[in-house]
Assembly symmetry: C2
Homo-oligomer: 414 residues x 2
């Protein structure tokens, strides 16, 4: 372990101890000031971002679009911080309390996790977003962004840290790892003495690397091979509207649908209609043998397709014999993020919700609703696809843990 990262960890812990004692009102005032200071210093952010963009001239347009920071995007980041200031402070909450047979009073209090590590890729807005959410929940954060956004991230972190300092708050509540080597990432994943939880945000490869290498507890996020299943009793107009929405409204995000399963009883009627609609929206369709023979514009899918998250205008289609074979297929190939059934049969809808092993299971709605904002959490730090600690959209509450405070008057155990 390099000394530098250990020092970062130690400073984060000291800051976390102070943050844990801050009142909600003080944190909210600080967040509003952070938002104001981002806008006050927007020129510095844009100047730094231009350096990153100049280094990224040979990257695809999709990539540089994510990387680019504009005055509008800085306004959005600031607005995000103000939204976080408006949310309830989860650490002001006592979940429950009870008295034991021995007369001990036990309070289950909600407290910050401590130090949160975030490893992410090219989107600089994650820096501000993650800093705001961790700060509001009383946690210190160690951020490690991708090397492509390094100058922008340094500018953002510097502004946020200076703002905290000027407010008499610990600047080390927000720290950025500026060494963007693989080695620094690996070290961060093993900083068990200082980091309480690591949340990777990015593509499949990043997340798998973190899961494989980290000894710090990890929350897996964001992989979404989401399915829409059209049941034999579906309202086919609704089925078409939901499928189109889930696939094309924003194909690059994790809650977009990647697979379409259709019950054989409605395939002949539904598939030609939905295929035309999707193709008209620029979607490339890949299908199993039965789909391809029904609609010749569908390309043959490979075995790999069923496990692939495209994040693009591509969708694979499969005709299934029954509700159970749809469920089996989904439980086998899904990343356990979000799946939907379209059906008018209440029993089949409930059975699907019960049998599917994913964080969010929909009846008659688009998978695109899996989102902290849409769920009413006010914000989100990511969407957990694991079962431990957090599952589905993670808001402020998921950045906390509990502590038992037990008060007695001399009780001993017999």
């Amino acid at each position: 372990m390099t000394e530098k990262l250990v020092m970062l960890g130690q400073k984060a812990q000291v800051a976390a101890n102070r943050l844990a004692l801050l009142k909600a009102a003080d944190k909210n005032a600080a967040l509003l000031q952070l938002a104001a200071d981002l806008i006050n210093h927007q020129d510095e952010i844009i100047t730094a971002n231009k350096k990153d963009l100049a280094n990224a001239t040979d990257m695809p347009a999709k990539f540089t679009d994510r990387l680019m920071v504009t005055p509008q995007r800085i306004n959005d980041m600031a607005a995000g911080l103000r939204t976080i200031a408006d949310l309830a402070d989860p650490t002001a909450q006592i979940d429950k309390g009870w008295v034991t047979n021995d007369g001990l009073e036990i309070l289950q209090r909600r407290v910050p996790l401590g130090v949160i590590g975030i490893i992410f890729e090219a989107r600089p807005n994650v820096t501000v977003d993650a800093a705001g959410l961790t700060f509001k929940s009383g946690n210190a954060v160690i951020l490690r962004g991708g090397k492509e956004a390094l100058q922008t991230n340094i500018a953002l972190a510097t502004i946020l840290r200076n703002s905290l300092k000027e407010q008499g708050l610990p600047a080390d509540a927000i720290q950025l790892v500026t060494d963007t080597s693989h080695q620094s990432a690996d070290e961060m994943m093993n900083l068990t003495d200082y980091i309480d939880v690591l949340i990777p945000r990015g593509g499949h490869n990043l997340i798998q690397r973190v899961v494989k290498n980290a000894t710090v507890p990890v929350i897996e996020t964001g992989a979404g091979n989401c399915h829409i299943y059209i049941d034999k009793d579906a309202d086919l107009d609704m089925a078409a509207a939901i499928t189109v929405n889930a696939k094309v409204q924003r194909p690059s995000v994790c809650n977009a649908a990647e697979k379409l399963l259709i019950h054989q009883d409605v395939a002949k009627k539904f598939l030609p209609v939905i295929a035309k609609k999707l193709i008209d929206h620029g979607v490339q369709l890949r299908g199993d043998e039965r789909s391809c023979s029904l609609v010749p514009t569908i390309h043959p899918a490979s075995d790999e397709d069923w496990d692939t998250e495209y994040n693009d205008l591509i969708m694979a289609v499969k005709i299934v014999d029954s509700l159970d074979s749809a469920i089996d297929h989904i439980n086998k190939h899904s990343t356990h993020h979000s799946e939907a059934i379209i059906t008018n049969d209440i029993n089949r809808g409930r059975y699907f919700q019960q049998a599917i092993n994913s964080a969010c299971v929909y009846v008659n709605a688009s998978t695109r609703f899996t989102d902290g904002g849409e769920f009413g959490f006010g914000a989100e730090i990511g969407i957990s696809t694991q079962k431990l600690h957090a599952r589905g959209p993670m808001g402020l509450q998921q950045l906390t843990t509990i502590k038992y405070e037990i008060t007695g008057n001399g009780q001993v155990r017999h």
Copy 2:
């Protein structure tokens, strides 16, 4: 990965899918039958246990005592299963529900984790205990006990599996890894496709090995370097009673106190009294310089002592200048399990509870109460010393996760 462990994992998942659909009443009836069958087959258990004991003749008495199974201990195991049958089923619970702005109905339902791996050492009662708790919460379990208890564990697992089978339930809900090599443990720690969470139960070395090597999410349990701090405003009779109880009532367990910190203002009065009491109970005392000079029967402590969990009749004593230095010492050296302050000052008590970074923080009570049974959870699978997912005593609820079931009538996202 060996084929054998993958097969175990696959079978566990199939069993888990069935368990998740069982009703509480059916699980409870099954648990009562498992209890009856343990007693019906007690001779087989004791015969197998004798083989393990015969192989353990050169182990210390403490070890063979843990390993030994008697008719009384089989009765206790069966009683444990009946207690679990009486507990509420957490997976019958819907935590909450709400309607979003788009008119989606969201239910947050509690569901089993899926497949739970338990790696443990010599106590065969863990086999029955863990099988009962995981079964009741709807999870399949893969158990891997120590090689010293292998014959006993095989007998226990066989009886439980046969009992499930005779009841028409999936025997693979309870599986035992009979290959007790290090390699099989390492493989189990990386069975990410099949095991949802791994809970190691045992000593420090086992737990650290699991934390370091596992890619499966882990819940760290059981390390308890617990502190009692005697504040300057303490009731010293209460302080002595609690210290003796926390140290000597059952020194081998994780919630026993290992360290005694005393405020300097009361050290001269308190330390000679408590030292005599502890030594009379057979405790060896090790102390910092000030303690040793106050009470000559105290041996000098080494730096290592402050980080050591003795699990034995040993206690290290330190005189501190202030409440804050007690807190700093504890936060630095504790395993974050359980700590207590003895004080009559309400503000100092509350400050201690707030500033100490441990799962359970006591005012005026013995650390020995950190226990699922004492907390009123009815049973426990372990005591978590990490912050993610579960913290402190883990009951049935901590063996579950959530699932969002979302129902709409055609909603799409704009």
